[in-house]
């Protein structure tokens, strides 16, 4: 491994991570630390087995290289004692790993009393987080530091998987089913509490699966309460929120990539062919496209693909401004 790669890895999570920790990102919960402990233990057992097997293999290959073409090896076709030994020892090691892991599974599964519940919903291709007071955020998960948080995980469409590597846990978001796990998280080391694109979808869910990422913030309890209260009453007309809440990016990319609908990058000012006529995309066109998508469907797309959206004028204006900014 090059030192450059180690340095790159060590930046993940802001903490000091490298080969000494098997490249695992910073562990932010007690459970994550326990899992790392088990991981370390199994890795060391595996390393010993690995070195044993590979060393014997290489030693035998070198030591017993044939020097005379007609020579034969020893006519030994087995040894019961040896075979019993190398059956029992791995079995005992595995029993040990099994028992140790089993007791841990119960600890991880049972949430403590007094948990703060956050409802997590996966959809193509965004994460929605709903807090107990009814506030919602999109692709922006915030949790209070040092409190027991229980995630209840749902899906709106297909199977997703809610994964935060720093917590060492993922659970699939399965339609028609509630899955859950709980955490009690510390802040990231290094004073930073915001972690971009660290809530990851780990179950393949279609075209934009790779980009189904959300930010994670672990906030001091007071700050968190203030934020979650403000979030409930805040007028929800800013473009980011509107775009996420209406799932626009399910069909429109913002980076020029192909999807079901036209990309927003460079859309403003572009010339589109509509019913054989050239039309320039301006504010009016975009506003109409949101409220009445089938009015002027450009060539290459069919009507009926996009639902008509009812929004406050302020929200529409902000989204149009947002699209304008994507040049």
């Amino acid at each position: 491994m090059s030192s450059a790669a180690q340095k790159e890895i060590s930046q993940i999570g802001g903490g000091q991570v490298g080969l000494s920790n098997f490249y695992l990102p910073e562990a932010l919960t007690g459970t994550a630390k326990d899992i790392d402990g088990l991981f370390g233990m199994i890795v060391w057992i595996a390393l010993v087995m690995f070195i044993l097997v590979e060393a014997l293999l290489v030693i035998f290959l070198i030591r017993y290289k044939r020097k005379h073409p007609d020579k034969h090896g020893k006519a030994i076709d087995g040894n019961t004692k040896a075979e019993v030994i190398w059956t029992l020892i791995p079995a005992l090691i595995l029993v040990f790993i099994g028992i140790y892991s089993t007791s841990m599974v119960y600890t991880i599964q049972e949430p403590p009393e007094n948990v703060y519940e956050i409802k997590v919903t996966g959809m193509k291709w965004a994460w929605e987080f709903e807090y107990p007071n009814g506030a919602k955020s999109f692709n922006d998960l915030r949790i209070p530091e040092g409190e027991n948080v229980l995630f209840k995980i749902y899906s709106k469409d297909v199977i997703h998987s809610f994964w935060i590597p720093e917590f060492r846990i993922k659970q699939d978001a399965v339609p028609g089913r509630e899955t859950r796990f709980w955490v009690n998280a510390d802040q990231l080391s290094g004073g930073e509490n915001k972690y971009e694109k660290r809530v990851i979808c780990a179950e393949y869910c279609g075209n934009q699966h790779s980009l189904m990422l959300a930010d994670l913030q672990i906030m001091p309890a007071k700050e968190f309460t203030a934020w979650v209260d403000a979030e409930l009453t805040r007028p929800k007309t800013d473009a980011q929120y509107v775009v996420q809440a209406n799932g626009c990016t399910s069909c429109h990319t913002i980076d020029g990539g192909k999807s079901a609908g036209p990309t927003w990058k460079g859309l403003f000012g572009k010339k589109q062919i509509v019913n054989g006529q050239e039309v320039t995309v301006d504010e009016k066109y975009l506003e109409e496209a949101i409220v009445q998508p089938d009015a002027k469907t450009p060539e290459g797309y069919s009507t009926g693909m996009m639902p008509a959206f009812q929004m406050e004028p302020e929200a529409i204006k902000n989204v149009v401004e947002y699209i304008k900014s994507l040049q």
């Binding site: 090059s2 790669a5 790159e8 890895i9 991570v17 490249y23 695992l24 899992i35 088990l38 199994i42 590979e54 014997l56 293999l57 290489v58 035998f60 290959l61 290289k65 044939r66 005379h68 020579k71 034969h72 090896g73 020893k74 006519a75 076709d77 087995g78 040896a82 791995p90 595995l94 790993i97 099994g98 892991s101 089993t102 841990m104 599974v105 119960y106 599964q109 469409d157 199977i159 998987s161 590597p165 060492r168 846990i169 993922k170 659970q171 699939d172 399965v174 339609p175 028609g176 899955t179 694109k197 990851i200 780990a202 393949y204 869910c205 075209n207 934009q208 699966h209 990539g257 192909k258």
Partner: protein, 546 residues
């Protein structure tokens, strides 16, 4: 054969009669091999495309959908059209009858049908390329995503899986009946070559597992086109049913891909170590153990899929238990090398450093994934990709390569180029480690599988993997070139160039005649009679006590 010729019953030879209408297990085996090698080429191409895209965190070599199609095609081809047909179809068909001293399989025409169904199944999958609807659902095709999948791509995929499954079931029945009934005089079960044992266990797995897969994909098809609601949550369906059915076949399918490979290893090691296989019975019976336990571990693919975490515990335990027969084999093979007289040939390098060295890594990472608490983090990451590639690439593939070189003189009557064979091995070995070892760390650091975009911090590790995949690509071309060249220009091979003791070497010419043996062989011992006996007597290369 003389008698047949004497009665004038031999029809005029033609390509059509010789190959298309053939029911000869050897020719069917060769056709399986050639067909699956062609499919392997496409599967490898898809892999190279995937790695090229991932050389940089956000390149757009492929559109997102093309990327998704690439990994779907890669997985499907490599599993259903390359490794399984190569191991059971090609090696199984060619070797099993001749190794047990039979003229052919028990049902030669059914055997031909298996091959033609396999070809048909492969072509149906490839039709999807030409109608522009390549499936993009992953080789697992989990609903409800797969049900919503647009276009006919998935329907072709389902049809293809059905046809391939039928082919597997027919072949499995054929192998079981042949092995049970067609063994020559003296060929008791405990004298069968270990490849035959492996193939027998594999056939039982195919026979019992494949129907579950057929059920799984049938429900997909019904949901897509006939209004059933197996996976429609609004109507009370449950997507997890599919996963249970799918893995009930697809985990045993992993053993379908590895047990015959282990059989090949058990054939080649004693020949070049000039020692009897160590613990014949332990190796043979541990295959049976793996085959049985293989049906009890499927839900370890589903620890985070919506089961209660504690529901995973029984499956964790069975997964741990299955590591025991596997490690028994590893230690028995090592003990076979101990005190041997080892000759470094291409097949020997592939099974020793190649299979033993690489498969061990895949086995050990499997223990980590089998532990529920670790799987919570590692599931669906590149760690899993690393793990199963060490098993199926480091394991199955190296055994296939070893087998191709080992039996090449038998099948073609020619010798391959030894030096270039060894060069190809080293490139393979280095390429495999470059490609798949960094993936452990990529996964642990937080990169999920099946993504075309990743954090820029992981660029270096990903680039190492991409370079490794190119090395493997070049090695594969070199290897195929070596064998193709040898078919036409290779030295003529003698009947038994390796001094092996199984019937295909000792009692059949290279290549074997139409009915394998001039005289039915009679077997008096197990097939690994190598080595210096304690009384000082030695065996020469023909297995005769000197």
């Amino acid at each position: 054969m003389e008698t047949l010729a004497a009665t004038g019953d031999v029809k005029r030879k033609s390509f059509f009669r010789d190959w298309i209408l053939t029911v000869d297990h050897k020719k069917i085996g060769i056709m399986y091999a050639l067909t699956s090698i062609i499919f392997f080429f496409f599967g490898g191409l898809a892999a190279i495309l995937i790695r090229t895209q991932l050389a940089l965190p956000d390149t757009q070599v492929l559109e997102p959908q093309q990327f998704n199609q690439a990994f779907t095609v890669h997985g499907t081809i490599m599993i259903f059209l390359w490794i399984i047909p190569m191991l059971t179809g090609a090696f199984g068909n060619y070797l099993v009858p001749i190794m047990i001293g039979a003229h052919d399989m028990a049902f030669p025409r059914m055997n031909a049908l298996s091959f033609w169904l396999f070809l048909l199944g492969g072509l149906v999958l490839f039709v999807s390329f030409f109608v522009g609807a390549v499936p993009d659902v992953g080789w697992t095709a989990y609903p409800p995503y797969s049900i919503e999948s647009q276009g006919a791509g998935l329907d072709f995929w389902i049809t293809s899986v059905h046809i391939l499954g039928l082919s597997s079931i027919l072949a499995a029945i054929n192998f079981i009946v042949s092995t049970w009934n067609m063994r020559t005089e003296g060929m008791t079960f405990n004298r069968m070559p270990l490849f035959v044992w492996a193939n027998l266990v594999t056939s039982f797995i195919q026979l019992f597992g494949t129907p579950a897969l057929a059920g799984a994909v049938t429900t997909l098809l019904l949901d897509r086109h006939f209004g059933t609601v197996f996976y429609n949550v609004q109507a009370g369906g449950d997507p997890m049913l599919y996963q249970h059915l799918f893995w009930f076949y697809s985990h045993p399918a992993v053993y379908v891909m590895i047990i015959p490979a282990m059989g090949i290893v058990s054939e080649i090691l004693p020949v070049f170590a000039r020692k009897p296989i160590f613990g014949y019975k332990a190796i043979a019976y541990s295959s049976i153990m793996i085959g049985l336990l293989g049906f009890m571990v499927w839900a370890h693919h589903m620890f985070v899929a919506g089961m209660q975490m504690t529901e995973g515990i029984p499956f964790m335990i069975t997964s741990m238990i299955i590591a025991v027969p596997t490690s028994i084999k590893i230690f028995n093979w090592l003990a076979t090398l101990w005190g041997g007289q080892i000759k470094y040939t291409t097949p020997m390098l592939f099974v020793s450093l190649g299979f033993l060295g690489l498969f061990t890594i895949g086995g050990l990472s499997g223990i980590m994934l089998g532990a529920v608490p670790l799987d919570l983090h590692l599931h669906d990451t590149y760690f899993v990709v690393a793990h199963f590639h060490y098993v199926v690439f480091g394991g199955s593939m190296t055994a296939i390569m070893a087998g191709m070189f080992f039996w090449f003189p038998k099948v073609t009557g020619r010798m391959y180029h030894e030096k270039f064979g060894q060069v190809a091995f080293w490139m393979y070995f280095i390429g495999t480690n470059l490609t798949f070892f960094p993936m452990h760390f990529i996964g642990m650091a937080g990169m999920p599988r099946r993504v075309f975009f990743y954090q820029p911090e992981l660029t270096t590790l990903n680039q190492v993997a991409t370079i490794g995949s190119f090395v493997i690509g070049i090695a594969s071309l070199l290897l195929i070139a070596n064998l193709v060249h040898a078919i036409f220009k290779g030295q003529k091979a003698v009947q038994n160039p390796w001094g092996a003791q199984t019937l295909e070497w000792t009692n059949a010419s290279s290549p074997p005649t139409e009915f394998n043996f001039e005289e039915m062989p009679v077997v008096t011992s197990d097939p690994y009679q190598f080595g210096e006996k304690k009384d000082g007597k030695t065996l020469d290369d023909d297995g005769v006590t000197a």
